[in-house]
Each structure stands twice: as C-alpha cells, then as structure tokens.
C-alpha cells in the first residue's frame, strides 16, 4: 500500500485516538513524578508517546496525539485548558512525523538517530512556539520566557523523548514484523 505523508485514513484516525488517550492517561497517572525540589513542576514521561506515534504513524497522527492528548491530560488532572500549550504539544509531535515515510526499519541505528534529531527539532519548535505565546498573553520578555517557560520544559521533554522514543521504536519493530503493516 502506498503511504502519503499527510494521509488520514481509518488507520490514522484510530492511532491518533489511541496516542491521544495514552498520552492523556499516562500524563495524568504519572503526576506523582516531579522534578526534585522544583515545587509543583510535574515531569511527563508520557510526552514521548505522541512523538513516537508521529514517527511511526505520520505527522497528522503525531499532531492529534500531542494536541488532544495534552487536552485530555489537563482535563483529567484538573489543570484547565491552555490552547497554545496544546498546540505546542501537537507541533512537537508532528515534526518527528515528517520522517515517517523514510523509516522502514525501526531497529536501524540510522533511523533511530534521524528520529532523535527530529524529536529535538520538534521540542524546540513546539515548546518554543508555546513559550513564545506567553510573551503575547502574559507580557513577559524573551529572557523570562526562555528561562521560566521554555528551558524547564525543553530539558525534561528532551530527556524523555531521547530515551523513550528509541526504546519504543525497537519494541514496535517486533509488532510491525508480526502485523505485516
């Protein structure tokens, strides 16, 4: 079957929903994990899930998993609705999906390195845009936005993404071999 970069068929509809629900539930369930001595800053290991879904199922799936998953996670945790951060999470997971078509073997070292680079680019662009929106909404300057809004989320997301996405890719390769898709 020919794949297209921006295709959104039945398979993408289902996996976008699963990715979003997984991200939402795991973000909520791992709220107990917090950066030591950082007050109330929760670290979301689940942030790697939409990135992984982007790499494996394409940019639209990644975007919906990140965007909608963040909404669900905040809904379950009672954090309210923060549109620009939801959008940032969507973009963060959409960008790794741009190499979707070029990856055929998820165990291949070259594929994993390309995915890692796209994960980092995705975090910079997605979280960067979300953090920049705070300049418009809250009236902060660039230095404050960078240190208060961007840097903490960039560091934690990069750690989770860089470690968990390759592990998930290797685990998925076994599933892919079984399903034949």
């Amino acid at each position: 079957m020919n794949k297209k970069l921006w295709q959104f068929g039945t398979r993408e509809v289902v996996f976008a929903a699963i990715g979003a629900a997984l991200y939402g539930v795991l973000a909520w369930a791992t709220n107990f994990l917090q950066i030591p001595a950082s007050g109330n800053v929760a670290i979301r290991p689940a942030v790697a899930i939409p990135m992984f879904f982007g790499v494996v199922f394409g940019p639209i799936v990644g975007f919906i998993a990140g965007f909608l998953g963040n909404i669900i996670g905040d809904l379950l945790s009672g954090y309210g609705f923060w549109f620009w951060w939801d959008l940032g999470n969507g973009i963060q997971a959409m960008i790794p999906g741009l190499i979707w078509l070029s990856i055929t073997d998820y165990k291949n070292v070259g594929s994993i390195i390309r995915a890692e680079i796209m994960v980092l680019v995705g975090i910079v662009v997605g979280m960067g845009l979300a953090a920049l929106s705070e300049m418009w909404v809250s009236g902060t300057d660039f230095a404050t936005t960078f240190t208060v809004n961007f840097l903490p989320v960039f560091i934690t997301n990069a750690i989770w993404g860089l470690i968990l996405v390759p592990i998930l890719m290797v685990a998925y390769s076994a599933v892919q071999a079984r399903s034949g898709r």
Binding site: T10, I43, T144
Partner: protein, 290 residues
Amino acid sequence: MLVTWAYHFRDSLMEKIDPRARWIFSLLFLFTISMYWDLRFLLFFFVIAWLWYFLARVSFKETRRAWILVSILLFSMIVVNTILSGGGAAGVVKGQGHPIFSLQFTIPLVSWNVNFNLTMERAWFALCQLIRVWAISAMFIVIPFSMDPRLYGVTFRRLGLSDRFAFSMDLAFRYVPTLARDFAVTLDAQKARGYEIERVEGGLITQVRRIAPLIIPITIGSILGGEDMVNAMDLRCFGLRPRTWIQETIFHGYDYAIIAFGIVLLLSTLFLHNVIHIGGFWVPAGILPG
C-alpha cells in the same frame, strides 16, 4: 484505577450555552484582552471573566490544582520578568520610571554587581499582568469542569473540522477508561515483579529507568489492540459517507447574543487601540512620587 473526568452535570447556566458559542466567545475574549495594558480596561474584562466563571457553578476546591499551577507560573514570571529583570516592563513601560526601592550589592566569590531598582511603573505593570492572566485563566480553567467530554467531537465537527478529526477526538475520549484499566493492570504486574515505580527520589535518569517498564508494555499493547479496531472499522466501510452524531448542538438566541457580544468587544477594542489610541500601558498620575 478509576479515571474520572473533571466534568459532572451541575445544572448551571453555562451548560445551557452551546459549546461552539463558548469556544468562540472564549477565543474572542483572549484576543481582545491581549490588546490591553490599561488597568481600567483590564478590570472590566476581569469582571466579565469572573461572571463567566461563576456561571459554571464550579467551586474553588475543584479548580484548586489549576489555580496553584497558574499562581506558580505567574509568580515566577512576575518576579523574574517585571520586578527583577524589568524586561517585559521595558517593552511596555517607557522611560526610566519613578524608583520606590533600590538595592545594590556584590555577590561574593564571583564579584557580580547587582543593581536592582524597582520603579512604581514596574510594580503597576506587575499588577496589570496579574489581573490580565487571572482573567484569562478564569475564562479557560472552567472549560473542563463545565463541558461534557462527549460533546468535544461533535462540537469541533460543527465548528468546521473534518469528520475524521472529530471522530478521532470522540474515540480518544472513549478510550480513556480502557487505557486507565490497562495501566492499572500493568502497574500491578510490574509491582508483583518487584518494580518500585512510585518511589519519587532519584534524578531524571533514575525515573526514566523506573518508568520505562510501565510505558512500553501499555503502548505496544494498545497498538496491537488498535490494529483490530482498524480492521473492524475498515470492514464497516468507515469514512465513505458523512457521519451522523448522537449528540447534537443547537444554537439558541442567547448563543448568538454571546458571540455578538464577543465580536463587539473585539471590534471596539480594535477601534480604541488603532483610532483613539487608548488601552496601552497607563499609570494613574496620583500614585507617582514627586
């Protein structure tokens, strides 16, 4: 593990408003208030936001976590941005300002000179920031507590998104309890094998090591289950025709009135901002020293 939505039926006025009207008004409000740094106007929007909040009949106890999160972020931003660095204030506040507090000292060992000046203008700007962010937060925090999750899919469909996107949204919300159950089963299984997932001490790397045996099986298990669902939907020819939805959204007169009010707010703000040139940063002359 039980997963529960923040929403439950409250018989509030907010629940009578069409969800589309709520989204449209909330976004119009956001764009409008973002054009003001004048406390007189910001207070007007602050009152509107809190009236909107109280329409939902949501208690502070329920929204406590969200307010704690907002307060921590707001406190960090105000302290770093307005009072310490003065960066944001420098973008909006013109001139040197009227000092109300100053402090000069040298940090030992590194010999950095700290020259801190708090001006009345910066302090006033911090107050404006506080009012503006609280108003925006009141408008958006209330959404998950007062909007039925079953309505998200159909609402975004009626707002013009595609059937597939809306269906994906609907499916995600329905998947949540199933995945929460899978999470609980996996967590119990890993605990039985001796994993101490809930120990919070240790750095990030330790926590990654601890969390991976939990995330990987749930994710891969969900993908396997998803393949079955794709097959089932394909066999039922999903996506060949436009969908019908069980929940319906209907605009009433008051929904149109709310949207019209939002549009009036935005248009009048554009007029005030671009033609009369008011609404920018303003400090009452009476509070300025000397």
